[in-house]
């Protein structure tokens, strides 16, 4: 009886999968799948290492973007997205190669050692002068993280936010947000890495950090510690400024064309939404506060 049910379940899923695929191709018209088919043949010529998809990211990398600092396990939003893109383009999982690229280096001008970099890199006009971005794969907001018993938890009107001492990692959109929207009266502390900013927060040297909302959630619940117990509080997220993440390419790299085709396909067939829901859903329940 059990075997029969299994076979039935399998048949049903396959049928629905086929139906969905067919309908989505029919809905979107013939061109996307044609574009995909074309990409599957042309892509090899454009790769950094022919026959492999070389993807850059930082080390260490964190939840919810990756899990256990192992991009190869396909877990975490960005890891899963990468393998989904590869799959659309007909690239075998074993042909996806990960390489190390520190965040600070990724958006500086010059040729890159990867096909694209995926590392929660926000598109900015400045960065776009130096590198090429794919279309958005995630719309992001900034949030504010402090310690559980901090003043900021209760007092965060725009006027009050200006009075706090902030710290952040150099070159991030979080730091830019502080400068552009919060305008604190005290000089913001700028650290080389986010880890150091977290350390400063824990030791009471700064009041708050501004960081992407998903990162902030993970930070507050797991990374900011006191006596080995989570001590962080993500107070709120700021209204969207239109910021979004994109995959990062060497300036003028033609490969972006096919990758964009893949992203579009994933958006159209609901995979992108599904991945977002699976890995990032809990982070959408953070209250919105004004800068």
């Amino acid at each position: 009886m059990r075997t029969f049910r299994l076979i039935l379940a399998g048949l049903l899923s396959t049928t629905s999968l086929v139906a969905i695929t067919l309908t989505s191709s029919v809905r979107a018209g013939a061109s996307p799948s044609a574009a995909i088919a074309k990409c599957q043949t042309t892509i090899a010529a454009e790769e950094y290492t022919k026959g492999k998809l070389t993807v850059g990211t930082d080390d260490p990398v964190y939840t919810p973007w990756f899990v256990n600092n192992k991009p190869t396990n396909g877990k975490g939003f960005e890891s899963a997205l990468t393998y989904a893109i590869a799959s659309v383009l007909g690239i075998n999982k074993s042909n996806v190669v990960w390489t190390y690229e520190p965040f600070d280096n990724s958006y500086t001008p010059g040729p890159k050692k990867f096909d694209f970099d995926i590392n929660e890199i926000s598109y900015t006009a400045q960065r776009a002068k130096a590198v090429t971005f794919s279309e958005s794969y995630y719309a992001v907001t900034q949030s504010i993280v402090t310690l559980k018993n901090s003043l900021v938890v209760k007092k965060h009107t725009p006027a009050e936010l200006k009075t706090y001492l902030y710290g952040d990692q150099i070159g991030t959109t979080g730091l830019a947000y502080i400068y552009d929207h919060i305008h604190p009266t005290q000089q913001t502390r700028v650290y080389s890495t986010l880890d150091q900013a977290i350390l400063a927060l824990q030791t009471g040297q700064i009041n708050a950090i501004v960081v992407d909302t998903p990162d902030g959630q993970y930070m507050a619940s797991s990374e900011v510690e006191k006596n080995k117990k989570p001590d962080g509080d993500q107070i709120g997220q700021f209204p969207s400024t239109g910021e979004h993440y994109g995959l990062l390419f060497t300036k003028g790299n033609p490969l972006v064309g096919c990758i964009n085709v893949a992203i579009t396909a994933l958006r159209d067939n609901g995979t992108l939404a599904a991945l977002t829901k699976k890995w990032l859903d809990i982070y959408t329940s953070v209250p919105v506060i004004k800068p």
């Binding site: 001008p109 400068y179 700028v190 350390l199 009471g204 040297q205």
Partner: protein, 295 residues
Amino acid sequence: MSLGTDESSSTPNLFAPRHRRIFVGRRGLVASTVSSAVLIGVLVAIFFWAPGSATVRYYYFNGHNMWQSFVGHPQTGLLSVGRGFLTNIWMCLLCEVLILFFGLAVAWIRVSRSPVLTPFRVLATAYTDVFRGVPLLLVVFLVGFGLPALGLGFISSQSPDVYGCVALTITYTAYVAEVFRAGIYSVPNGQILAARSLGLTHGTIMRRVTLPQAVRPVMPPLLNDFITLQKDTALVSVLGAIEAARAAQIYESTVFNGSGLVVASLLFLAITVPLTRFTDRLLDRDRKRRLASLS
């Protein structure tokens, strides 16, 4: 062979071999001009005709960006490299005063022979051993993140500049103490004998005879340490403080132009080069004096 001068009658050959004659006299002038021209030519060629030359010149030596980074733009958070450099300067001056004071104190303890000071002598030796061995960067981290973590009230609530200064002082004092100690040992023993023969106490001898004579010869190494200290003040940036180098980095990561780094470098050079020249002059003068007194 008998003792005495050479008795052979022939005159020895006194002319330099032909190929060496270009280094002599007027021809020597030609040689130095040609060699300088060649060296400068090669450097200029590399700078202007290398494939990436235009990019490098724009990225690092662009006039507009150099000025922008120097003055900063507070609204966009672009901090002024010039303003940041003031942090480097005041830290250097303050820390140097502390370093000289503590360095002398530690040296004094190390050369003392009083039994009362024995535990301090041991501590002082351990201290100089440890802090001449641990890299300054590590000390900066340990002090700048460690002290606040201890939660000790006043000690734990200082600004990163203060911790930076503490770390610099702790590390440099160890070096300077050794420099002073070498200076003290270099004072001729006869001086101490004469001073003791006058019945002066140990402390008086140290203050009025030894130290005045110990400091003069060690001015060049002390000046060298001062110059190095000026550059090491940039390390306070790892603690989050904004000084010239960090301000330049922020400019670069926002605007993608590195000319701010060149500006910061020039600011440092503006201080260190005159000091280096001065140190050289001191060394020269002392050398001439020493050689004159021998003749």
